[in-house]
Subunit: 336 residues, 2 copies
């Protein structure tokens, strides 16, 4: 296997994918710091909006690799870490290359500018997979180059684009994904499919999204709660897709405090929201076909006798990423 | 993400998996060479029986990283690489750690002893995931330790055991895997499922196995050839599982020169062979249930209207590994 810039960028991309969706409304970003030719000091990602950017996490960990008991260990606030590194780096990063999946931000928002931080640390090189398209944040590469730091743009750009895609989509209009839990052979019924760890992940997603869509029949049959209680999270707004507007108001989902539930058969309402998850309503896939950006499959490694998830439509996908949630799989598929 | 011994061993394990089954009758083995604290010099694997072991490939590539135009570049024979490195290493590996998924071999077979080579190169440390259980090859760690080289055994042993499992199984009795191509939603019919790249991989597998098993109905319906023509490989012996012994002898599989085909309904015959692939005969899964070590799923990322692969039995699996073949997936599942 070749150990080149692509190898390091791939580590950054894979790390970022672990937090895909969870950084909303920010993009998922990963960063790797390499000292000399190929000494990996850190592999980090942006984990949640308001928390440090990927570069800040990676630079902090890289510094700690050589200064394991340094006071920076105790810092978690972005402004504090920036300030500390700028005052104490002492040339440590001069022989380092920074690999980052997205152009370092150039503006001060909830966190300070990464381009400014990197400029002060003066690394050997910054390798950027994808340029920033955000009007406010872009221009990081220019800032670095004006400070005479060598930048290289476009390493694994295609893969970085796939990582960035949900962010681009929710920024420009809406990002809609269809979440489905199934067995290896595609059955969706026959009792509880997913593990508790996977269910907790789904609840984390619910905490992040703006709107959850579910079919009326599922609500009538399953009588769900549709909150984020496993992770003590925020319950999302719910749209029940149904022509028949009459539901038993004892169904638990209507009783969750401080959240809106509405019943509608107008699918265009989805597009009033930025980040939408469709859950549990398999018949909706055909109807929503054109509006769905991703299919997110949670696959449990078992074969079960039962009904096939979907078998009335033919759809082609590209696997953009996949990962494990404990012993189960999560696969991110993009419509072709 | 922590960059520790486990991180490096995982790189070695993943590299080895790329050649799983293809090294038969040898085990799949991976090796990573790290200079100093965490400078990765090479990530390599054993690729085919008779070709250099993982350690030899990794040590050669590591040496080349610092001596890119060295004559070792032109060497591919194990004896020559061993000999060259022993005479020309010049202390290069003294500050290196070698991560290897299986204890370095201690005997001279088709290739020379890796333990002997490493002993001469005198690295800082050798980290071994799993001990060798092969009577002839084992004892590598002892050889190294007698030469005062620090060894650490057991890093990611569980994962290395999964990697080694097919080898352990075909060494002690038979390793039998059930290969299946399906869509995302588990359909198996509806025209050609796999890409040409995946088909070429299947033909490579056919070249390596001792016996291929197929159901009589599949033979009668599909009239297959069951050779390894896409990779100009050896056609495997074929057992047609069928009570009815009468077949049209014009079916192409009977016309492949230099290979044995037999028709039987005695499944115990499978165990006369060391490395067996069952292909295409889905009804056999229920009958063979207890004899199957792995289910190898080739998954094409599309949803199709069609018949579900298997829906008369309930089976639980553990995902032991997975990878891409081009844009499709290969998943290795072990019976629970």
């Amino acid at each position: 296997m070749k150990i080149d810039n692509k190898f390091f960028m791939k580590l950054a991309i894979d790390e970022a994918w672990k937090y895909q969706f969870l950084t909303y409304p920010n993009p998922a970003v990963g960063c790797v710091v390499v000292k000399g030719n190929s000494e990996i000091l850190s592999i980090e990602a942006h984990k949640e909006a308001g928390m440090p950017h990927a570069e800040v996490n990676a630079l902090k960990q890289a510094f700690l690799k050589y200064h394991p008991n340094d006071v920076i260990k105790t810092l978690s606030d972005s402004f504090e870490i920036h300030d500390y590194l700028i005052r104490n780096h002492n040339g440590f990063f001069n022989d380092c290359t920074i690999f980052v999946t997205l152009e370092p931000c150039n503006h001060i928002g909830k966190t300070p500018s990464c381009a400014n931080l990197i400029k002060h640390l003066n690394p050997k090189k910054v390798v950027i997979a994808h340029e920033d398209i955000n009007k406010e944040a872009k221009g990081g590469q220019k800032t670095l180059e004006e400070a005479s730091i060598v930048c290289e743009l476009g390493c694994m750009k295609k893969e970085a684009y796939e990582l960035l895609y949900p962010f681009l989509k929710w920024n420009s209009s809406s990002f809609v994904f269809y979440k489905m839990a199934q067995t290896l052979n595609g059955t969706v019924d026959g009792g509880k499919i997913s593990s508790n760890q996977t269910l907790a992940y789904v609840h984390t997603l619910r905490d992040r999204i703006d709107l959850m869509v579910i079919g009326g029949n599922t609500v009538r049959t399953d009588r769900p709660t549709l909150d984020a209680r496993y992770v003590v999270g925020r319950a999302p707004e719910v749209m029940i897709y149904s022509k028949n507007k009459i539901f038993d108001n004892q169904i638990p989902l209507f009783k969750v405090p401080n959240r809106k539930v509405f019943i509608s058969d107008d699918l265009f309402k989805i597009l009033d929201y930025k980040f939408v998850m469709i859950e549990g309503a398999y018949t909706l896939l055909e109807k929503l076909n054109e509006k769905i950006d991703y299919l997110v499959l949670l696959i449990s490694p078992k074969i079960r006798n039962g009904l096939n998830a979907i078998n009335q439509i033919d759809l082609d996908f590209k696997i953009v990423h996949e990962n494990y949630i404990g012993k189960e799989k999560i696969v991110y598929l993009k419509r072709k």
